[in-house]
């Protein structure tokens, strides 16, 4: 602060040198303003990231945190483990399916949220609930909704005569996988919708009105104006949906713990079970690291697509 005062006093000096000093000062200020955030992130994201890579080549465990070089042994062990391949596959499948559904439903919901209608405030509040509620708690609500004996979904289906016994939503591999995907879609559609609303609001009103005057119907306007114009925002929504599904372990951890027999295990939950609950930090780190290159590839692909669209 004292430094800034001194700089400020200098500013009232003759105008000739002041202009140059002003730009110099902007440079210093730019760094001073940015530095704390950068230091924080480097210290608590970049360094742990490097540390995670180092751990994956070590034999660190919770009981014996001393660092000894172990070469590729951790990778060898996880490659030999069928659960790892299952987790990797599940992570990719869950993400791909969820992302698609999130974009489609998010788009529909965004169209509702930009429109004016009575009771909009209430609908918005209800629709936000899945996203703003801590994931762990909403997963608990779903755990009970999908209970093997008391599931109300089963009760309704029984009343309708569609099933005789219980469905065991979380007890059968494919149903459990569908349940996990459904919960991800349910909780992330509001986020995607909010992002897409941002894009829709930015379209100039005249464009829509002109198209309407020219006789373009709802679907035509949707596919020839709204969607092309908001593609970058849709891509951002897709990216967020993908990242949040891809890296999340909460839904799986609470609903199924990866079961039945690892059929819903994902990389994040498997790394947690190995690294924290099993105490094998090195192996957990090696598993978690597989999240990174895939995320990076997806993000670069989507950001490049956005750039290209913006140039057009």
């Amino acid at each position: 602060m004292a430094e800034a005062e001194a700089v400020r006093r200098e500013a009232v000096l003759p105008a000739a040198g002041a202009r140059r000093r002003l730009s110099d000062r902007d440079g210093v200020l730019a760094w001073l303003f940015l530095l704390p955030s950068v230091v924080y992130i480097v210290a608590l994201v970049a360094i742990p990231f490097v540390l995670a890579i180092a751990f994956s080549f070590s034999d660190v465990t919770a009981g014996d945190p001393s660092f000894d070089w172990a070469g590729l042994r951790n990778y060898q062990r996880i490659f030999d483990d069928p659960v790892f391949w299952r987790s990797l596959q599940n992570t990719l499948v869950f993400t791909a399916i969820s992302m698609t559904l999130i974009v489609v439903f998010g788009k529909i919901l965004a169209n509702v949220l930009v429109a004016d209608f009575r009771g909009k405030w209430l609908v918005r509040f209800l629709v936000l609930l899945p996203w703003t509620t801590p994931v762990a708690l909403s997963s608990i609500a779903w755990l009970w909704l999908l209970d093997s004996i008391y599931s109300p979904i089963d009760w309704v289906l029984r009343q309708l005569g569609l099933i005789q016994t219980n469905t065991y939503w979380l007890g059968r591999p494919y149903l459990a996988m569908s349940s996990v995907i459904a919960v991800h879609v349910w909780r992330l559609v509001p986020l995607a919708a909010v992002i897409m609303v941002a894009g829709l609001v930015a379209i100039p009103k005249e464009v829509q009105e002109q198209a309407q005057v020219d006789g373009a119907g709802f679907w035509r306007r949707m596919f020839e104006i709204t969607i092309p114009l908001t593609l970058p925002v849709i891509a951002v929504a897709a990216l967020f949906g993908a990242i949040f599904t891809f890296t999340d372990m909460t839904v799986v951890y609470i609903l199924t713990r990866g079961g039945p027999t690892n059929s819903t295990q994902v990389l994040a939950s498997w790394a947690f079970i190995r690294g924290i609950e099993g105490g094998d930090v090195a192996q957990g780190a090696a598993i978690a690291l597989f999240l990174f290159p895939l995320l990076l590839a997806a993000a670069i692909a989507i950001l490049r697509a956005v750039r290209r669209m913006e140039v057009l």
């Binding site: 000062r25 990231f49 660190v60 509620t133 219980n166 925002v233 990242i243 947690f272 990174f292």
Partner: protein
Amino acid sequence: MTASAATAAAGPAEAERRRAARRHLFGRAALYATAILAGLLAAGPFVWAAITALKQDPDLYNPANNPFLFNPAPTLEHVRYLFDETAFLTFAWNTLWVGLLVVAITLVLGIPAAYSLARLDRPWSGPMGVAIFFVYLIPPSLLFLSLSRIVAGIGLQDSTWSLVLIYPTITIPVSVWLLIGYLKAIPRDIEEQAMVDGYSRLGAFLRTVVPLALPGVVAVVVFAFTLTASEFIYALAFISPTHEKVISTGVPTELVRGDVFFWQSLQAATVLVAVPIAFVFNLFLERLVAGFTVGAVKG
């Protein structure tokens, strides 16, 4: 019959008008139907959680009972249990103070950083903005193992303070990203005028930009708080004593003993946490949307 004959007589303009009106009516109906369906699907689990929270045991644990009605009368017993017999209030208090401290750290570090990237026009501003965005790609599920060693190394293992230290790494990047959007929306003339009036760049920033960005800042506060309240992996990995836990880990771990789930109390906790957060969020939604527009599209 006569009406339609009259329409036909009235010429193509009238027919066109009526078709537009019909299409409009159909559009409204579809809109309301979609809105109601979306509301039901989104809030359904919470509505049912609220009903469950007030059910008596014999009612709840009978699969033949209608799960959407109170067969025997509702009871507040399980809500009382949540408040009196569990550490729920401690979890809530921990979530609250951790969230507020994290938000404070986020703003103190994030607002200047966003201003630097949005306004001070350095050659590295663009790449640095992208770099901050890329921090997202190193998620908690990748960092929790090494961070838990770091947290243990500095003696914060099993302390709620570890979350105060670590959560800003999640909130700063997204907040900076949103804030860049809000700051870019403030006309440059305003600070330039302040600087002409004798304020330094820093003075202009503190006295004109920060107050003008306040609505955006409030939206960021809400968003950052929600992020910290929802976080699960770090809280689960770092902290095991009951009284240091936050809501998102405390409720699912402490209200489940072995195979026994305290279902009604769990559901009560979910509803009691979900409703206020969504309510406050709804108040600031428009601001957030505006932030996403500028930040996401032009960032």
